[in-house]
Symmetry: C2
Subunit: 193 residues, 2 copies
């Protein structure tokens, strides 16, 4: 559609790959339609994937206790994030359509939400849903036997006392961890019958 | 259990964080049991997360068409991967239990399998299952409206002709992409009723 802006976030090392073809054909077809197409070619850009304090220029809000979320939020407001991040944010803001393409997908999963939010009817769905790719698709696939997950829900919204309790309950579980049986790592465990 | 070896893959920037506490208590409890505990503290190690040709030392098998999978496989056999990767592989091999811990999880998802493998009764489960964290947990969560996915299954097992067909079908879809309605990005779309 003429006039639309598209951003393709592209992650593959070899331009002549199948992924390269899919990206090229997208650029060609969308340009033909009159779109403006930007490509963030992450490997070619040598894009920095680590989330560290180097992402923040200037003084930290709380240098003695580094919280990436807090610092990035403050730096975002003050426009003091590094230039490579600001450039990508600008592309996303301007785009009408963003495509993520690549054989490798990098996901950032937070358990910042409470346990209520991670039940079947909760806003985030059952917590087992998001475990599927990691537990089944990666660990089980690679031959690991998988123990039941240990999830500490929403520590940042808990009291100091509750946090201590969560740490203690982890310590408690570890005492008998060698006696545990692996979960049956198949669809019914994750999604029911 | 005395004599067991444990590897904790730990990813958090701040040692005094809640994640730091969970890691510390695991080290303490498991050491108390007589286990040998190794910690891969990825941020402290400044671990390189990008999968590039720098991971392979010496000559490439196919320098004119770089395939990370092929080169890494060959380099693994010849022990010519970079020393940081070999060191981590050794830790995983030696460990009786591996823990992944961190507020950030990095997942690697491949669509190397065929469409048959990604149905409800297939070995990999319905392909929608692994889309949940990315589409719902990341994109939907961040406010994107999500279009139906475009999955090219198993291009490496397809013929040249079939690959061209897959590229063409992607190009075809793009022609009318602006007319598409977003999917209803909620649990029923992913897991049925």
């Amino acid at each position: 559609m003429a006039g639309k802006k598209v951003l393709i976030v592209y992650a593959h090392q070899e331009p002549r790959s199948f992924n390269g073809s899919l990206k090229d054909v997208a650029v060609a077809e969308l340009s033909r339609q009159g779109c403006t197409v930007a490509v963030s070619d992450l490997y070619a850009m040598d894009f920095e994937p680590r989330a560290t304090r180097k992402d923040i220029t200037g003084a930290l809000s709380s240098p003695e206790f580094f919280s990436y979320g807090v610092e990035a939020y403050e730096a975002c407001k003050k426009r003091s994030l590094t230039s490579d991040i600001i450039a990508e944010q600008k592309k996303v803001q301007e785009a009408d359509l963003v495509m993520f393409q690549g054989k490798l997908a990098i996901l950032s999963i937070t358990t910042g939400g409470t346990a209520d939010m991670y039940c079947k009817t909760g806003v985030s769905g059952d917590f087992r849903y998001f475990l599927w790719p990691l537990q089944h698709g990666t660990l089980h696939f690679c031959g690991f036997k998988v123990l039941a997950p240990h999830i500490s829900f929403a520590p940042e919204f808990a009291s100091e006392e509750e946090r201590k309790g969560m740490v203690a309950s982890w310590a408690q579980r570890l005492k008998t961890i060698w006696n545990e049986e692996p979960i049956p790592c198949s669809p019914p465990w994750y999604f029911g019958q």
